[in-house]
Symmetry: C2
Subunit: 330 residues, 2 copies
């Protein structure tokens, strides 16, 4: 029911944008969750606007990954635009979900929180923050929400390559409260900071602290670094995606590697995936594309997949105690 | 041993081309068979030329699929250029393999051949045709080799989207003899013509006629057409690869589908693969990208994957007896 309403609203807003633009052809691209509805969305947009709509069947993983299409205008569904990036003829549909009737999952977080709370979320749940803030304040908490800026479109928003909104309030808070579902974004905040991170998980209707998950992730990262230390040949991955392309960083890492007597080769690719990396004669990968890949998808790769900062530790250019999460700042 | 010699020759020829071009950065891309050697090739090219070499980790499936890279010059290994296409700053290394010491696998084909033989091969074995021709003529055969042209760089060469060299001599010959390995290219010729197709398989050291394989493939294509006939919604796939992009054809097919009361949506993508097609609400796919995909990779897809001509049969615009193999002629 909620999904039907969301789709109706999407059609209405996108059809308006298409009509306004006077585009003669439209390309539709969408986050994975919209794929099952995409053909229906394209059909309804065509009916509403009389403009042919072509779908993009290449996956898109964020606003860093807006696909070029042979059309006048792109409608990109499910990701907030990155303010720092320049888009041409792209309409972003990133309306937040309406707040739920029941905030019980937030109540469950209350016993886990300190007095001063930093609120965080992802773009789709950003419309819930005001209500959560009010609720927490009623319980006597002080609430901090980091301001948008750089790659971040909305206050309190997290994306896989930028934790500005967490860092901005880190010093002010006793703990962070993440509103949403899934583990990746709050886990990254836990890796970034020494403050406890609590997840209020809307889908599961529960709340939990991420201490164990943080420990486990740190042990995994340590393991990846240790096994890469034996390596002599490294493949440094650079994405061709506009918002993930860090060639300068890759060149710098290759230089440092050579200084330490290691062999390093730069490989460019669209999506970083094991299939494409199968069969290469390298000992470990260094990923300059989306920072999520090394942390979240480590199981999908047969060889250690390091972040740039982890590669610096491997080479002895950085200490393990100065471990830092990778973010894209270019 | 042969592979080491091939690699040495590759380094020598590509290094020459790089020096001549005065490129300051080079991108290396290669057919799948070269992946395991690619890091070593990049390293040796850097040593020879003093120019940094970046690798392309996105797979490339042919000269239709030359990858754009952020470099001055691309070295593309393992595919013959398509004469009809315009390339900018691309050096193709497609030297043929030197002829083998032993042509016994061709002798095994002799009892299977008629008097007049059409010789076919793929780019890597093209250097063997002269010796095979001589051998056949000594045995009293008349030998025909179709001329290059259009998308075909070399006489007698086959590629997955163009069978010009087979069609050119079809009327003159009693049968075709394919020199090489694998089944796809000769099987496509068998589907294209009524003349028997014999494979002289260098790797297996044997020869065979493809009658059964042709029957099986035709039954599979018939099966795909029959199951797609029930479909109401079709996804028409268009590749973003320069040499596979047939948007006009896709638009025409979508129009015809609508005329027949079917729903048809155009989807653009780089590589056509099941992962990217998972979850879409369509009943069957129509592939305007590489023609090999529907014929050779049919098992990889969960829904029927049709060629444009097969879709015409599904819609009743073409008779099964007028079945035609898909080729790219644009």
């Amino acid at each position: 029911m909620r999904q039907m309403e969301e789709t109706d609203r999407l059609i209405q807003r996108c059809a308006q944008a298409i009509k306004r633009s006077k585009a003669k052809t439209v390309g539709l691209q969408y986050a994975a969750g919209f794929r099952i509805r995409s053909v229906d969305i394209a059909k309804r947009l065509e009916e509403e606007t009389n403009v042919p709509v072509i779908l993009s069947a290449d996956p898109t993983f964020g606003a860093c990954d807006v696909r070029e299409m042979p059309v006048d205008m792109v409608v990109h569904v499910g990701h907030a635009p990155i303010p720092d990036m320049h888009y041409r003829n792209v309409f972003f549909f990133d309306d937040p979900l309406p707040p739920p009737g029941d905030f019980g999952f937030v109540d469950k977080a209350l016993p886990l929180l300190g007095k001063k709370v930093g609120l965080l979320t992802t773009t789709q749940f950003r419309g819930w923050l005001a209500a959560v803030k009010e609720r927490l304040e009623k319980e006597g908490h002080q609430v901090f929400i980091g301001k948008s800026g750089g790659r971040i479109a909305y206050d309190g928003q997290l994306i896989g390559c930028d934790y500005t909104t967490a860092r901005a309030v880190e010093k002010d808070v006793d703990c962070f409260l993440y509103i949403g579902t899934g583990e990746f974004h709050p886990l990254a905040v836990a890796l970034l900071t020494t403050k406890p991170v609590v997840v209020a998980d809307y889908e599961r209707g529960e709340a939990r602290r991420l201490d164990k998950e943080k420990d486990r992730a740190m042990r995994r990262r340590h393991g990846a670094i240790v096994s890469a230390k034996e390596g002599m040949t490294f493949g440094i991955l650079v994405s061709t995606k506009l918002g993930q392309h860090r060639m300068e960083l890759a060149r710098r890492l290759a230089e440092i590697a050579k200084k330490h007597g290691k062999e390093a080769h730069i490989l460019v690719m669209d999506n970083v995936n094991q299939d494409s990396l199968e069969g290469y004669r390298v000992d470990a990968w260094v990923n300059t594309a989306c920072p999520r890949i090394a942390i979240e998808d480590y199981l999908l790769f047969k060889k250690p997949m390091l972040t740039p900062q982890e590669f610096e530790i491997v080479l002895g250019e950085r200490n393990w105690k100065d471990y830092e999460l990778d973010e894209i700042r270019e």
